[in-house]
């Protein structure tokens, strides 16, 4: 234990353990999500992108890049973090975490930090890959990184909550597949909200992913469906909700302790 009373050794141990798990399976954890996302750039950017209209002066192939990175970021963050905490629960090795001198937020920092790190790395690799296929510009690189890191952290935390809530492999999959993926697809990955018929424009604003993608796309091209401040605000609200839920889980021992 350090002088500050924070168990840094524990945070580091969990973080390293999780990163090592990722590095043991590079094909599944890194290559596969990068490849499947890059296929979109090949198809929409290099192949049929040239036949599609520009959106707000941005080539279609480039327009979809921020949305696709967000899509991968969301699904990867949730998958990484939910599996990371679900598996020790499933095998029983969670006993060690529960009996260790760690505060709940230290456990979360270790698991969520590792899951978010991995997602950010994947996001950056996808971004790099995209530049080979489509012309890309990034007007606000610091905002881009901010949205990347905040979204990865928020959805890793969301995944962590799912992993604790899930008591079977099906539940582990159901929210990412049935809720998050549709929301991400309908959240403007492939189009601008303005292109929707008017009632759907209003409905789309109830989709939290719209704010993430809009803000992220703004950091690239300076165009947005909603103001960038609103995007940032919504991301922070969702992060705060996830932190509150995680705190409640550990205080009550929900699905962790008898």
């Amino acid at each position: 234990m350090s002088m500050t009373g924070i168990n840094w050794h524990a945070i580091g141990a969990i973080y390293r353990f999780e990163m090592a798990r990722t590095l043991r399976t590079p094909l599944q954890s890194v290559v596969s999500p990068v490849l499947s996302t890059s296929l979109y750039f090949v198809v929409f950017g290099a192949a049929i992108g040239s036949r599609m209209q520009e959106i707000d002066g941005v080539a279609y192939g480039a327009f979809i890049v921020p949305g696709l990175i967000m899509l991968t970021l969301l699904t990867q963050s949730i998958a990484n973090a939910s599996f990371a905490i679900y598996f020790p629960k499933f095998t029983g090795t969670i006993y060690e975490i529960l009996s260790a001198p760690v505060a709940w937020w230290e456990v979360v920092l270790g698991y969520v930090g590792a899951a978010a790190t991995k997602s950010v790395i994947i996001g950056l690799i996808i971004l790099l890959t995209a530049t080979f296929f489509v012309p890309l510009r990034i007007e606000h690189p610091l905002w881009m990184l901010l949205f990347l890191v905040l979204t990865a952290a928020t959805f890793s935390l969301f995944g962590f909550i799912i992993g604790i809530w899930a008591d079977g492999f099906e539940k582990l999959q159901v929210i990412p597949l049935l809720v998050v993926t549709p929301l991400a697809f309908l959240g403007g990955s492939f189009y601008s909200i303005e292109m929707l018929p008017s009632p759907w424009q209003a409905i789309a604003l109830f989709n939290p992913v719209v704010y993430l993608i809009s803000g992220f796309r703004w950091s690239f091209f300076g165009i947005a469906d909603v103001g960038v401040g609103v995007s940032l605000g919504m991301t922070l609200v969702f992060l705060a909700i996830c932190i509150a839920v995680t705190g409640w889980i550990f205080r009550t021992g929900y699905r962790l302790k008898n």
Binding site: H9, G12, A13, I14, G92, S99, A100, P101, N258
Partner: protein
């Protein structure tokens, strides 16, 4: 010797699970510093619940626990850093190597890296040759050693072993007992649960008997073993007796089955059991018998009599 301050102090600890099952009923227990304490009881008696509460896996319904003076709820960091736990179930990672998983445990419990110490722990448990092997490739016995190594990686002052020898072969059991003694000699307090009385007899300094969520007895091992060492000799008489002849008054005798049986209770651990003298005295008193049998009071009998005495 002055009484040592308890290293674990359990006060009025109760646990009722959500199902309504009351696993612990107001348990009070002090564990002395540096002893090997065996918690003995049948399956479902509450052994694992008690350990799980002390180690932070289960939330108690009421009561408090202090580990080396630190409350496990309010001062959990200090309390838990002193405790190592080896649970009953074989639960290990699969793809990690032995050395990595043990180093992970040390970090998790707030200790800086110390490869030399990890090496020593692995060598003590005959795991050094397997240090770079994935855990899933190890045998069950080896996995249990890994779990012990993980529990020792942060140099705990208190070690809990929940059913350490369940499903363990004889050789490993001997190794484990030796290790436990070495740890005790180095100042570690050890609390182990078992439902094998031989294990308590072999290992423990003191024994606590738990049944249906209550600690019904805590005693020095030697004292308990003296009780457990009692045996009964039953003689089936040819002629029923109305009363014992005065010449046999010196023996611990009882008439049973309407005078058709004579029961003699004796101590197998005593220097003399008195059987030879008793048989001689019976012959002199003209008491003849058709048959005889002996029975040893089992742990089960002790439980039954202890529980009965309390009602």
């Amino acid at each position: 010797m002055p009484p040592m301050s308890p290293i674990i102090s359990v006060s009025d600890l109760s646990k009722t699970y959500a199902s309504g099952f009351q696993a612990l009923k107001s348990v009070n227990l002090d564990i002395r510093q540096g002893e090997i304490f065996a918690l003995l009881g049948p399956n479902g008696a509450g052994k694992t619940t008690l350990i799980s509460i002390i180690c932070g896996l289960v939330t108690p319904s009421t009561g408090t626990v202090k580990a080396d003076g630190h409350d496990i709820a309010t001062d959990y960091r200090t309390a838990r850093a002193k405790i190592g736990l080896v649970p009953q179930e074989l639960t290990t990672d699969a793809f990690e190597t032995v050395r990595a998983t043990v180093a992970f445990s040390r970090g998790l419990f707030g200790q800086p890296k110390d490869p030399a110490l990890i090496e020593q722990v692995l060598k003590d448990l005959s795991l050094w040759d397997k240090r770079d092997t994935q855990i899933r490739r190890l045998s069950g016995g080896m996995k249990r050693r890994v779990m012990i190594a993980k529990a020792l990686a942060h140099e705990p002052r208190i070690l809990f072993l929940d059913e350490p020898t369940a499903g363990v072969d004889v050789e490993l059991r001997q190794d484990m007992w030796q290790l436990v003694r070495r740890l005790r000699d180095s100042g570690v307090t050890i609390i182990l649960t078992t439902h094998y009385i031989e294990e308590a007899e072999e290992m423990a300094d003191r024994v606590g008997v738990i049944s249906k969520g209550e600690i019904i007895l805590v005693e020095e091992k030697t004292e308990l073993m003296r009780k457990l060492g009692r045996k009964q000799l039953t003689l089936i008489l040819q002629q029923p007796l109305q009363a014992l002849p005065p010449s046999l008054a010196a023996y611990d005798l009882e008439l049973a089955a309407d005078g058709e049986e004579l029961v003699y209770t004796y101590d197998t651990k005593a220097e003399r059991t008195g059987i030879t003298a008793l048989l001689q005295a019976l012959g002199e008193a003209g008491i003849r018998f058709n048959d005889l049998q002996t029975s040893q009071s089992s742990l089960e009998d002790i439980f039954v009599s202890l529980v009965k005495d309390r009602r």
